[in-house]
């Protein structure tokens, strides 16, 4: 995990143009090598936790693309997590489609859904957009819960067991999630350097100005949401196969979306490596608190969220950088001056 400890840089054009330095590349290669051989040296418990960390890193990258780079808080993005999970579950459980093919199907479905609802919903801003995506998630959850014949409704749906027994399959899910997290991070990195990402950052900073400069804002926003939804849907698919049983309240759970949001936020909004570092931090913290407080895990997660927002509203890296300075500085960072 050496790559994570290097401070994530803001996706600033001048800084990104040079590309990563040779040292950073070497550190990254070493980290990947360590992660690739790790399953043979760590126990089954830690393999699961690591797989969970990669899963949330990928989800947080999906959130990062929408909220961090484009400024659209897709609060209800977990709808794609659920849709991906149900696509895999229904196709595998009811029609015997192979797992790899269901991955493609869920990505396709999520992209199509965004194509359909993206243009109208992306006209909304701020609170309204966040709540609309939340409502979308609830509406889809109700539909899945009531389409009992296809989805098993509220009773949930079972998937075939992954081949090779629990220990072997844990390792394959480790690699699947690791691959997804790396792919998502690579997408975020490329995105931040390319025309699409730069356009989205312009939209985040000033949408009216971006549009006046001739940017097709709706096209940009819809495209980035498709990317975000595809990543989230893919993760949802893998998760469903891992869990071997899903029900609507487990996969359309807003807590998943909020957790990935907090991860992206703590890692530093709009940075390539931020979500990865945030995922490591939050997941380890959550694992630790959950093992101690069985009946209070929901409240503990809520408390972590509340504390994260109250103490580090601009992310951990920024808070750490400013630590030697004035007290209470992180609460004042983005305070607007009274006169402009």
């Amino acid at each position: 995990m050496t790559a994570i400890s290097s401070t994530p840089r803001p996706a600033d054009l001048a800084a990104e143009d040079a590309g990563p330095s040779r040292l950073a590349l070497a550190a990254l290669a070493l980290a990947l090598l360590l992660l690739a051989v790790a399953p043979w040296y760590i126990g089954g418990y830690w393999i699961r936790i690591a797989a969970n960390i990669f899963m949330y890193a990928a989800l947080a990258q999906g959130m990062n693309l929408m909220a961090g780079y484009t400024g659209y808080p897709a609060f209800g993005n977990v709808v794609f997590f659920g849709l991906g999970g149900y696509t895999t579950a229904v196709l595998m459980g009811k029609f015997g489609v192979p797992f790899a093919a269901t991955l493609g199907a869920s990505v396709l479905l999520c992209v199509l859904v965004v194509l359909l609802i993206g243009p109208p919903l992306l006209r909304l801003k701020g609170h309204y957009f966040a709540i609309a995506t939340l409502g979308l998630n609830e509406a889809v959850r109700e539909i899945i819960s009531n389409a009992t014949r296809l989805t098993g409704g509220g009773m949930g749906i079972s998937l075939p067991l992954p081949p090779g027994g629990p220990a072997a399959s844990a390792i394959s899910f480790y690699y699947l999630f690791l691959g997804t997290a790396i792919a998502a991070t690579f997408i975020a990195w490329q995105f931040s350097r390319r025309r699409l990402g730069i356009g989205c950052q312009a939209i985040r900073d000033n949408e009216i100005k971006a549009e006046a400069c001739g940017l097709f804002t709706t096209r940009y926003k819809t495209t980035v949401w498709m990317l975000s939804a595809a990543i989230t849907g893919l993760v949802g698919s893998i998760n469903a196969y891992w869990m071997t049983y899903i029900d609507p309240s487990a996969v359309f759970d807003m807590a998943i979306a909020v957790k990935s949001f907090v991860i992206y936020l703590l890692g530093g909004a709009g940075t390539v490596l931020g979500p990865v570092g945030g995922a490591v931090f939050v997941e380890l913290l959550a694992t630790y608190t959950w093992s101690k407080l069985l009946n209070w895990h929901l409240g503990a997660m809520g408390l972590i969220i509340m504390l994260a927002i109250a103490l580090f509203p601009n992310g951990l890296p920024e808070a750490l950088q400013r630590l030697p300075g004035r007290k209470d500085v992180n609460l004042r960072l983005r305070r607007q001056p009274i006169t402009k």
Partner: protein
């Protein structure tokens, strides 16, 4: 006849929704934050009422002031101590923060009272006003009347007291209000307190006619949002009409079409509304029915 019964029950339910939504609306209108814990705060009110009733036997209608006062103190302290500071960094953070609060509230209620579904059976619960084939339980009528009474009291407070006018002034133009010497921290805290108190009162009323458990709050938050978006932000009259409309629509869908889709009504309405009329059905902000000057 069945349809008429469904519509009338929907109207009575709508009064409760309106009371809930007006609290949501005040918080949103004044402090500009969306309280995702609103439904859970209402359920908290239901639990407070239930606790008072099961320990002292006090009638739920009489304990509403106690419940509302408890929730007011909670809301005031929360906004004054924490939310005011977070709102200065980024408004969106408050949304996430209230979601965290929602999780904590649910967990606290689960821990203190288990996941059992509770209700408050009263001696007069089954008594009903019967006109022909239509049967309206007195408790539901009383809940409706109480919700409207609370709304009216709030209206009086907003229009005829200095504090209420300060709240309205802050909703209309926070900067100008601050320049005139209104302490915005206090007013924001007061608005959140009033919103929480109304949520608590709505929860107390809900406890009389419905059963509840710690996890029943989330759909209520959604409903409050839909009603406020439908009726116009800060409009009490709009909230009452929109609340009744939602109550009737929900009852019609669940009574005549499919019971499972009851909660889906508000989500579908929400998305349609946001897509087709992002500014609400009745145009722009209403700002607590302030007369145009």
């Amino acid at each position: 006849m069945l349809t008429l019964q469904i519509v009338l029950t929907g109207i009575l339910l709508g009064g409760l929704y309106a009371c809930l939504a007006i609290g949501f609306s005040i918080i949103w209108g004044v402090t500009n934050l969306i309280n995702l814990a609103h439904g859970s705060m209402a359920i908290l009110g239901a639990y407070v009422t239930w606790l008072i009733w099961s320990h002292t036997g006090l009638d739920p209608f009489l304990s509403i002031p106690l419940t509302a006062a408890a929730l007011f103190a909670f809301g005031y302290a929360l906004q004054w101590g924490v939310l005011n500071r977070i709102a200065r960094t980024s408004l969106f953070m408050t949304l996430i923060f209230t979601f965290g609060l929602d999780m904590v509230l649910i967990n606290v209620m689960l821990a203190l009272s288990s996941a059992d579904i509770r209700g408050i059976p009263l001696a007069y619960s089954s008594a009903a006003l019967t006109i022909g084939e239509i049967r309206l339980p007195y408790t539901r009528l009383a809940v409706f009347a109480m919700a409207l009474l609370l709304t009216y009291l709030l209206h009086l407070f907003m229009d005829h007291t200095r504090s209420g006018q300060a709240v309205r002034a802050t909703a209309q133009n926070p900067r100008a209000a601050a320049m005139l010497g209104i302490d915005s921290n206090h007013i924001n805290a007061m608005a959140f307190g009033i919103g929480a108190a109304l949520a608590g009162a709505a929860g107390a009323l809900l406890a009389v006619v419905y059963s509840f458990s710690p996890v029943t709050g989330a759909p209520l938050t959604m409903k409050a949002f839909v009603i406020v978006a439908l009726g116009g932000l800060g409009s009490m009259r709009g909230a009452i009409f929109a609340g009744i409309a939602l109550g009737v629509a929900e009852n019609l869908v669940s009574g005549l079409l499919a019971p499972g889709y009851r909660d889906a009504v508000s989500f579908v309405l929400l998305i349609l509304l946001l897509v087709l009329r992002p500014r609400g059905l009745f145009g722009d902000r209403y700002l607590f029915d302030a007369p145009a000057r």
